[in-house]
């Protein structure tokens, strides 16, 4: 069946079954491979993209549910002001180890900062806990989010 979706500001038409997850449409139909497959059950967040600016797990979002809503992926997030800041903060903190989860992490972080420009540690915990980093770069993800928000990056959580 034919579906037309709006991805990164472009209208794209694909011919797939309606239950095909958006992730696989992006990766294998539209050659946008930045969004990653990790679990297929919305458990790890590697596939996170924005629909209407909201972070969603594209591995459990069927194409038939996307409709005309704007989809933004990691490939275009740098075109937004917050996306650019987050990418720069990620590089400055050298967040990455293997890097496989980081597209999803960045998408979740951008959605957080869009809604909450000055996040607390609790805000970060809540917004980022759907994204697994198997390399466990959480210290730097937290610092990079704060840096992108213009906050001090030291981990000041009470222990």
């Amino acid at each position: 069946m034919s579906y037309t979706i709006n991805v990164n500001g472009q209208s794209r038409t694909v011919d797939v079954e309606g239950d095909t997850p958006l992730l696989w449409v992006l990766r294998d139909e539209l050659d946008l491979k930045g969004s990653k497959f990790g679990c297929g059950m919305g458990l790890c967040g590697a596939c996170t993209v924005h629909i209407n600016g909201q972070p969603i797990r594209s591995c459990v979002t069927p194409i038939s549910a996307v409709g005309e809503q704007p989809v933004t992926t990691i490939e275009a997030i740098g075109e937004t002001e917050i996306g650019k800041k987050v990418q720069e903060a990620w590089l400055k903190a050298d967040v990455m180890q293997c890097g496989y989860c980081q597209a999803g992490q960045i998408m979740s972080a951008c959605a957080l900062l869009e809604k909450t420009p000055q996040p607390t540690d609790k805000d970060i915990d809540a917004a980022m806990s759907g994204n697994i980093c198997r390399c466990c770069t959480y210290t730097r993800i937290r610092a990079a989010i704060k840096d992108a928000a213009g906050l001090p990056t030291a981990d000041t959580r009470e222990v």
């Binding site: 990653k36 990790g38 198997r134």
Partner: protein, 750 residues
């Protein structure tokens, strides 16, 4: 550093010293102008059939200097997130003396004749290559100086370098490397063994915080991982194996599967008996991966499950309990007379410990793209940690010659030891061979967790004796592990140097095995990741039994500094455990964490542990809090490590240490693979939890930079994190965690 310093390097592991004496360098003009420096390693120069080649038929392109001063440096080992694609070029750039901003890092293609050993494992990349890469860079610098000396007709001794330029101070003139490159390409290369190295005090790049060279591409979502590979005409595949390891295919509803949307082919693949090789399975090939994966829901296979269908976690535990009552089947190390010492001890402490099988769960699932061409040539694109092993398995499985196979290494979305195995690679090749087209095989998460090459579980039956002063006078561990006839299986062993071996007067380390047919193999800090929990927890019990502070007790057990043993290992001569270095990191972590000086509220405790692995010395303190319902939260981890003189890149180095420690904690908090009727039970992250942001502790990482050879950082910070956590739980609750993963139900106080 003068050439004679090479002679001071026998403490380096591996063959770095020997290699650098035999290695030599070749220079040539680069395509498009400039200088190309090739470092040749005759020691590893083998023909495709494995015979040693006497001529350097192929050369290692380590350094390329272009006329525009852009310097391309090659990293030969796979990049799995350990940062080697950044670290190796940093080492060369340091000695070559170039501006890091002008460096472009490239991953080498897989070519062992050119590059020698190419792998990511054992925290060995740095210790095996540090010296060699420095010499390669230094040789390049010297050739550029010689070129300038010829050009200006002055003695080379009057010349020096600044980043990217040769300087003639006497005449106040400079010339860039780019301008010199073509002349330098005609300069005879210096003897690599004699080329002078920089004074380490003058390092400008080594020791700097330098971001990963691929990171700018990763933040933009560029397709650089194995799973992102795309080749023209490629199909997509899934591969379903028998849930009982090594089970054989009998029949399946393949006609029905072939009719499903997008499915191009569905067929059984005949495998062998190597659990880490090609096993029997059913391949489903479709136009798109989602279609192939969806077809799995309809797949019904009859398997001949074989004898290991009787395996169960409960059965293993029962067998272990029985074996634990008996004497060990094999002696690992015996010193003194443990029985006599126990009989006369003032206090005897006995405890048993247990840890489960765990999976690697790399976030990028196993995948490989392969094209088995009709002419018998095979091309493979794979995220592998150990391409040599992959090549060996592919050629053996399909009866090919190495010259028939081209293997492209991609960036790896997490290794942790899983991709030292090549099962997923031969599967892709088998499927492509059958369909005659290129195919990308991607495992789903269920397959990934249920067909891991697991970290084996294990059981330890400890008994120790303390004298009236609380000193350990006897120590026994009967290690019940997995294997056959008292010979441990892959990554299920324990060595004779396990601490406190040689640090107590009477010691008995023995081993018995439970037979099993489940694939096991190395997982980050293999063996150590499990042994550290058991040994450092039991040592904690002894501290409390002796009425001593766990930190003071450990210092006492380590004893006064003494010269380390010299050991022959498969990686060459290595210096064994150096108790002075461990004492120093232990003292430092106590100091940094304020050990014993902090009043903690009820339900909060601190634990301490140390462990030596991969030539790294790590001591760690964990602060954990346990809620009335037994939920554990890790507040903070203090880590002090000693991996020798240099932290080549603190950016990657600290990241590795933090990640390794949290990785250990993540496993301890919830990870286990259990078996029922021979099958792994867990299917996805809801049943196999990985630590998340809200659980991530604060981290305090510090290195003691000592006058010892620089060693690797990928693994050694992991092992002590686990017992530091379980010891903290004891301090918080008075409840000793003797079985992993930590079970909140056992820690409940309300």
């Amino acid at each position: 550093m003068a050439p004679r310093d090479l002679d001071r390097a026998p403490r380096s592991p591996g063959k770095t010293d020997g290699v650098s004496r035999r290695a030599f360098i070749t220079a040539s003009a680069a395509v498009g102008g400039g200088l190309m420096l090739d470092l040749s390693l005759p020691l590893y120069a083998r023909s495709s059939e494995g015979a040693l080649s006497r001529t350097p038929a192929t050369l290692n392109a380590y350094i390329r200097i272009a006329p525009d001063n852009i310097v391309t440096l090659i990293a030969k080992n796979p990049e799995i997130g350990q940062g080697i694609k950044t670290t190796f070029p940093m080492i060369i750039a340091e000695e070559l003396d170039v501006d890091w901003n002008n460096v472009r890092a490239e991953s080498a293609p897989y070519d062992p004749r050119a590059y020698g050993a190419q792998f990511a494992g054992g925290s060995l990349s740095v210790p095996m290559n540090f010296e060699m890469l420095r010499r390669a860079g230094a040789a390049g610098r010297q050739m550029l100086i010689t070129a300038a000396a010829r050009l200006w007709n002055v003695p080379a001794s009057e010349l020096t370098t600044e980043p990217g330029v040769v300087v003639h101070k006497a005449r106040n003139r400079k010339i860039t490397y780019g301008q010199l490159a073509e002349v330098a390409a005609r300069v005879p290369p210096p003897d690599l063994g004699k080329v002078p190295l920089k004074d380490e005090k003058d390092f400008r790049i080594i020791g700097q915080f330098i971001g990963g060279v691929d990171s700018p591409r990763i933040v933009k979502g560029e397709p650089i991982f194995g799973i992102d590979v795309s080749v023209p005409g490629m199909r997509y595949a899934v591969f379903e194996k028998c849930p009982v390891y090594g089970g054989k295919f009998v029949s399946a509803n393949l006609d029905e599967i072939r009719k499903l949307p997008g499915v191009r082919a569905a067929f059984p693949v005949k495998g062998g008996d190597d659990l880490a090789g090609l096993l029997d399975g059913v391949a489903i090939v479709a136009d798109k991966w989602w279609q192939a994966n969806k077809a799995l829901e309809k797949l019904q296979v009859q398997w001949d499950e074989g004898p290991s269908a009787s395996h169960s976690t409960e059965g293993f535990a029962k067998a272990a309990a029985e074996l634990g009552k008996q004497p060990a089947g094999h002696t690992i190390k015996k010193e003194g007379d443990v029985d006599a010492a126990l009989a006369s001890a003032a206090k005897v402490v006995e405890a048993s410990y247990e840890y489960p099988f765990i999976a690697h769960a790399t976030l990028e699932p196993m995948n490989t793209t392969a094209h088995y061409r009709k002419d018998g040539k095979v091309e493979i694109w794979s995220p592998t940690q150990l391409p040599q092993q992959a090549m060996g398995l592919v050629t053996k499985t399909f009866g090919l010659k190495e010259s028939d196979v081209t293997l492209h290494m991609t960036r790896v979305g997490g290794g942790f030891g899983r991709r030292l195995s090549s099962d997923f690679i031969v599967e892709a090749v088998a499927i492509s061979k059958e369909i005659g087209e290129p195919v990308k095989l991607v495992w789903n998460r269920r397959q990934d967790l249920q067909h891991d090459i697991y970290r084996p579980g294990g059981f330890h039956f400890f008994k120790a004796g303390l004298d009236a002063q609380g000193k350990v006078v006897a120590f026994r561990d009967h290690f019940v592990t997995f294997g056959e006839d008292n010979k441990a299986g892959n990554s299920a062993d324990m060595g004779p140097t396990e601490f406190p071996a040689t640090f107590v007067p009477n010691l008995d380390l023995g081993l018995s095995t439970i037979s099993y047919r489940i694939p096991t193999g190395p997982l980050r800090a293999p063996q150590s990741n499990a042994l550290a929990f058991a040994f450092q927890s039991f040592i904690d019990e002894l501290a409390y039994a002796a009425g001593k502070d766990p930190y003071e007790f450990r210092l006492e057990l380590l004893g006064e500094p003494r010269p380390p043993e010299v050991l022959q290992t498969r990686f060459g001569t290595q210096v064994g455990f150096d108790n002075a270095r461990m004492r120093d990191v232990l003292k430092a972590v106590a100091e940094r964490s304020g050990w014993g000086k902090t009043q903690l509220p009820k339900g909060v405790g601190r634990g301490i542990a140390f462990y030596y692995s991969h030539q790294g010395y790590f001591a760690e303190v964990v602060q954990a809090r346990v809620s009335p319902v037994g939920e554990v939260r890790v507040d903070k981890v203090w880590i002090v490590g000693d991996v020798g003189k240099h932290i080549i890149n603190p950016a990657g180095g600290i990241n590795q240490v933090e990640g390794a420690a949290i990785d250990g904690i993540s496993g301890a908090l919830g990870q286990k693979i259990t078996f029922t009727r021979g099958r792994a039970v867990q299917t996805n992250f809801h049943e196999y939890p990985l630590l998340r942001m809200s659980q991530a502790p604060q981290m305090d990482v510090h290195f003691l930079q000592t006058d010892h050879p620089t060693t690797g950082l990928g693994e050694p910070a992991l092992p002590p994190a686990v017992p530091a956590l379980t010891n903290a739980i004891f301090a918080a609750t008075g409840k000793r965690v003797r079985r992993l993963p930590i079970d909140p139900a056992e820690l409940r106080s309300a």
